[in-house]
């Protein structure tokens, strides 16, 4: 799958409280989550973000709570993929489980507003603005299977239980 969009670049250690504050998490309405995503980090985020845009962060993105509302809010708001130098582990799993693509790239020089083209199958990112290329870290096969099936709900509907291929 190829994703193309504008990068929105943020820093290190963006915690789940800043992705979606605890006070907004008590809902099953995904639009409400999306309406408040990144509110405490960047009040203009919802205005700037166009559907299909790419979120780029530094180290330890998604640290803190286990709340799956964090990746859900980003996905519903229109983020097509999150690229970070590293992810907090619960967020990493949650994103895959709900079908929000993520990519760990330790070394990149992406700037705000750069146009990116991501090949999800190879983990290769082309920076169309600077003509640079980056390569993401490999994922465990079970996670690739879950992404390819469209998230954990669809994975389990299809297979009934976990399979380690």
């Amino acid at each position: 799958m190829i994703l193309e969009g504008t990068a929105h670049v943020y820093g290190d250690n963006i915690d789940t409280d800043r992705i979606i504050a605890g006070k907004y998490t008590k809902t099953l309405n995904m639009q409400e989550l999306a309406d408040h995503v990144f509110e405490d980090l960047d009040p203009d985020f919802r205005v700037k973000l166009k559907n299909g845009d790419i979120l780029v962060a530094g180290n330890n993105f998604g640290c803190g709570s286990s709340r799956e509302q964090a990746p859900l809010a980003l996905k519903k708001a229109g983020v097509s993929i999150v690229i970070a130098r590293s992810f907090a582990r619960i967020f990493y799993r949650n994103a895959i489980n709900i079908g929000l693509p993520i990519l760990e790239i330790n070394d990149h020089t992406i700037s705000d507003k750069d146009q990116l083209k991501v090949n999800l199958s190879t983990g290769v990112v082309e920076n169309l603005t600077t003509s640079e290329g980056y390569h993401g870290s490999e994922m465990p096969l079970v996670m690739i299977d879950i992404i390819n099936d469209g998230g954990l709900v669809k994975y389990l509907k299809k297979r009934g239980t976990y399979q380690l291929t």
């Binding site: 250690n13 409280d17 099953l28 907090a88 489980n97």
Partner: protein, 415 residues
């Protein structure tokens, strides 16, 4: 080849010998979800085609994050949890019972050597009794409800050796804040942590829970606190790592000169010795949470506040970690001591810590809190400043209206 604690426990649950970095499927002994995560878990479970959970006796729901319900929308989500629990025959702890992690331990839902998943990041708390316990999201948990299993990558382990004897007034919270400050907020990401040494062996069970609880604050998948000397109300086998277990890193600290520690806004790893923070004016003090809302913590605060009155410009709120803790604090006079000093008791739950309701601070206010996180906006207002400290530091600071070193008070009393 020797095994770490996490390698041993995962091996038992995978029915084969495993070592770090292997990926395996494991049987899960128990799962827990709160009112932040259970509604999504129910939704995902139903979308997966689930009709009956794999083993109702192993599923626990707790209504604690916004309890009692602050509005009708949340009330309806609580109803959804109650209906599901009733229909499935699973245990639900309703409003006021207490905080999920305290209830899981207090009521024997988790035992040494078990593998437990909770849809809350502080599930790592149960590592204080030698269980492998880790936080997952709602959909991961729904998959366990369906299959009784999950997949897991066996984490490498960091060993933290704590030597020496703590000074009076310095507690487990100061120890773990010091370690989180040293390793950093991502210092143990994807890894397990084992805490050991004479400073750990001297700690009560309540204190060991505090240490394990904050392992997630350095990103750890699980935290294990040595069970040497630990007494539980039932027989259990102590599980120890093999002497030739392979660790990724070993840190050794002498903690005999450690002073109380305070985490300053807006990150739990932003830790300073209290001497560098003393005097910072606070308007609110909170004693409670899954980190420090246990009986021992209330006792520590009562020791400092006995016969005294808190500063007139401080709101001092206390929430026991469970109704059982609250009851004991009523029975032994601790609650009366705190209320006479000016404390307001809140229902046992998570509200103030996660900013869902109760005790939301005003703009520019300073808060000293016994909780585990001070991310921006954590207590419900992005324009407030949350400092984290031990129960003794919270009580001493409430007394003077500014961040205060509790060890000085204890020394004055000795004179």
């Amino acid at each position: 080849m020797g095994q770490t604690l996490v390698e041993k426990i995962i091996s038992t649950h995978a029915s084969k010998v495993t070592y770090q970095n292997e990926i395996t499927i494991v049987d899960v002994d128990a799962v827990m979800a709160s009112d932040t995560t259970a509604p999504l878990t129910i939704k995902s479970f139903e979308e997966m085609g689930g009709s009956q959970v794999w083993d109702p006796s192993k599923v626990i729901f707790v209504i604690d994050h916004a309890a009692p319900a602050p509005n009708e929308r949340i009330a309806n989500l609580h109803s959804l949890m109650r209906d599901f629990a009733r229909n499935q025959g699973i245990k639900l702890y309703d409003v006021g019972s207490g905080i999920c992690h305290q209830l899981m331990v207090e009521n024997g839902h988790v035992k040494p050597g078990q593998l437990v998943l909770g849809a809350d990041s502080h599930t790592c708390t149960y590592g204080a009794l030698g269980a492998f316990a880790t936080g997952v999201g709602s959909t991961d948990l729904a998959a366990v409800l369906l299959t009784g299993k999950t997949w897991i990558k066996v984490p490498p382990t960091i060993k933290i050796q704590l030597n020496g004897t703590l000074q009076p007034g310095v507690s487990a919270k100061d120890l773990i804040l010091f370690i989180v400050g040293h390793l950093g907020i991502d210092g143990a990401t994807y890894k397990a942590v084992e805490f050991t040494g004479e400073a750990i062996e001297a700690l009560s069970f309540d204190s060991r829970l505090t240490i394990a609880n904050m392992a997630i604050e350095m990103g750890a998948k699980a935290g294990f606190v040595d069970t040497v000397g630990l007494e539980l109300p039932y027989e259990f086998n102590h599980i120890h790592p093999d002497e030739d277990a392979i660790y990724e890193t070993v840190y050794t600290f002498d903690v005999s000169k450690l002073e109380p520690q305070v985490s300053i806004p807006h990150s739990p790893d932003n830790v300073k010795p209290i001497s560098e923070v003393e005097g910072k004016v606070i308007q609110q003090a909170f004693l409670g949470s899954c980190t420090n809302g246990r009986l021992e913590d209330l006792h520590e605060a009562a020791k400092i506040l006995e016969g005294k009155t808190i500063h007139p410009e401080v709101r001092f709120m206390v929430a026991a970690a469970s109704n059982e803790v609250y009851l004991r604090a009523l029975q032994d006079g601790t609650a009366e001591t705190l209320v006479r000093a000016g404390a307001t008791f809140l229902p046992s739950g998570c509200g103030p810590c996660v900013g869902t309701h109760l005790g939301v601070p005003g703009n520019d206010e300073g808060i000293i809190s016994s909780t585990n996180r001070n991310f921006r906006g954590r207590m419900g207002n992005r324009n407030s400043n949350v400092y984290l400290g031990s129960p003794a530091t919270v009580a001493a600071s409430a007394l003077f209206g500014k961040i205060t070193n509790p060890t000085k008070l204890l020394k004055e009393e000795v004179k």
